[in-house]
Assembly symmetry: C2
Homo-oligomer: 211 residues x 2
Amino acid sequence: MSQTRVHNFALSLDGFATGEPQSLEAPFGHAGHRLHEWFFATRQFSADGAHGIDDAFAQRWAPGIGAEIMGANKFGPPGWQDDLGWRGWWGERPPFGTPVFVLTHRPRPPLELDGTTFHFLSASPDEVLAAARDAGGGLDVRIGGGPSVVRDFLLADLIDHLHVVQVPILLGRGVRLWDGLEGLEERFAVEATTSPSGVTHLVFNRKVHGG
Amino acid sequence: MSQTRVHNFALSLDGFATGEPQSLEAPFGHAGHRLHEWFFATRQFSADGAHGIDDAFAQRWAPGIGAEIMGANKFGPPGWQDDLGWRGWWGERPPFGTPVFVLTHRPRPPLELDGTTFHFLSASPDEVLAAARDAGGGLDVRIGGGPSVVRDFLLADLIDHLHVVQVPILLGRGVRLWDGLEGLEERFAVEATTSPSGVTHLVFNRKVHGG
Ligand SMILES: NC(=O)c1ccc[n+]([C@@H]2O[C@H](COP(=O)([O-])OP(=O)(O)OC[C@H]3O[C@@H](n4cnc5c(N)ncnc54)[C@H](OP(=O)(O)O)[C@@H]3O)[C@@H](O)[C@H]2O)c1
Ligand SMILES: NC(=O)c1ccc[n+]([C@@H]2O[C@H](COP(=O)([O-])OP(=O)(O)OC[C@H]3O[C@@H](n4cnc5c(N)ncnc54)[C@H](OP(=O)(O)O)[C@@H]3O)[C@@H](O)[C@H]2O)c1
């Protein structure tokens, strides 16, 4: 059965998944790289990286995934829709290697880059999930972020597995993940694990019979 | 050297230290007892309770403390200032056993109950801390909450040690602790430890040379 999964989703202690303002020079605003230092130290990110609990979680990003869904603000900085030459942050060899569905109110034709095809569409979470499952051959679908899109999918009760990495910093401002999700834990089994790196891994696994 | 400490301060994953609305029937609003179930299971709370990591943290509440400072909304439900008979939530034998300084814009005469003396005053964090240190014979001072008062003391850089217990629930509404505290981690060493009970203990220890 195809699952809907979120991986390596980094949050500050005060719940922000990105700082502000988002820009070409600073995709995470004033957060800089601070939400992802734990990831840069993993083997998943680089051949020099370490195996360990952070890496064990990070490695789960790709296996079993047939497609990703992301929001417009993950695909590019504010205003990218006005630049027909914008091809995403990832250069000519994006790491996805699957179809990627970019939710945007200003769709454009698909873009193929080295085994990753970006599809741009305006659709409800249900609709885009059906399209992504189809394109991914029935494998699992990753919801890649940003926080607004992950939140929309949680609100629609469309997430089976959520992996959040809580980084011990306070950003103070940016975009929050948890807003409007009162009682989320009733639908999930929650497990927390700390890492020697200082981050805490939180996994939410959807309860089989709802709650 | 007298330290300023916060202990057993419970937060939901989305950062709320209490639900809403606060009332005589529901001191934590819609949060009910959910922020403190980990505590009720400890030996510190009851002779039937368990020893373990939650208890080890909980036990640190009293030793070395000479006085507590708390906010008006911890001392009583909204409107308690209009009731001259209100003597706090704790009955005739409050657990403090030290002077307690209650910050309120509507002071009243001191109240003595079985070894705990409540003093009511309107004063800045600096001023009340000096008074509490003095009354506590130079021992450590506990900042007992609620979140507004803990936040004020963090903003004034008057906290040496902060122990937060993150409970894996999403309250969605209430009073947040972390607002306005961007960059707090620069002044503290932060350590996270998970417990079999499901909560995560976060300790902030102030760096000796600032930072
Ligand atoms: N912490 C992490 O691990 C992590 C992970 C991924 C991303 N991020 C960061 O998160 C930030 C982006 O997050 P965000 O919350 O600002 O935005 P986002 O979730 O990436 O995108 C939201 C935008 O997507 C479009 N959209 C969403 N749903 C749609 C729908 N149903 N139909 C059509 N369009 C739809 C809308 O854009 P338009 O109306 O403009 O088309 C909306 O404003 C970036 O800074 C990124 O770097 C962080
Ligand atoms: N999660 C936990 O572990 C924990 C711990 C303790 C308490 N709580 C809960 O937290 C809630 C209360 O927190 P809260 O943030 O609403 O309020 P609070 O911090 O208890 O009290 C804030 C109030 O104290 C008075 N005050 C604060 N600073 C003052 C000053 N410098 N001078 C004079 N008065 C001052 C003001 O009241 P007035 O203007 O009305 O006088 C202010 O509105 C309660 O629900 C309580 O049960 C939770």
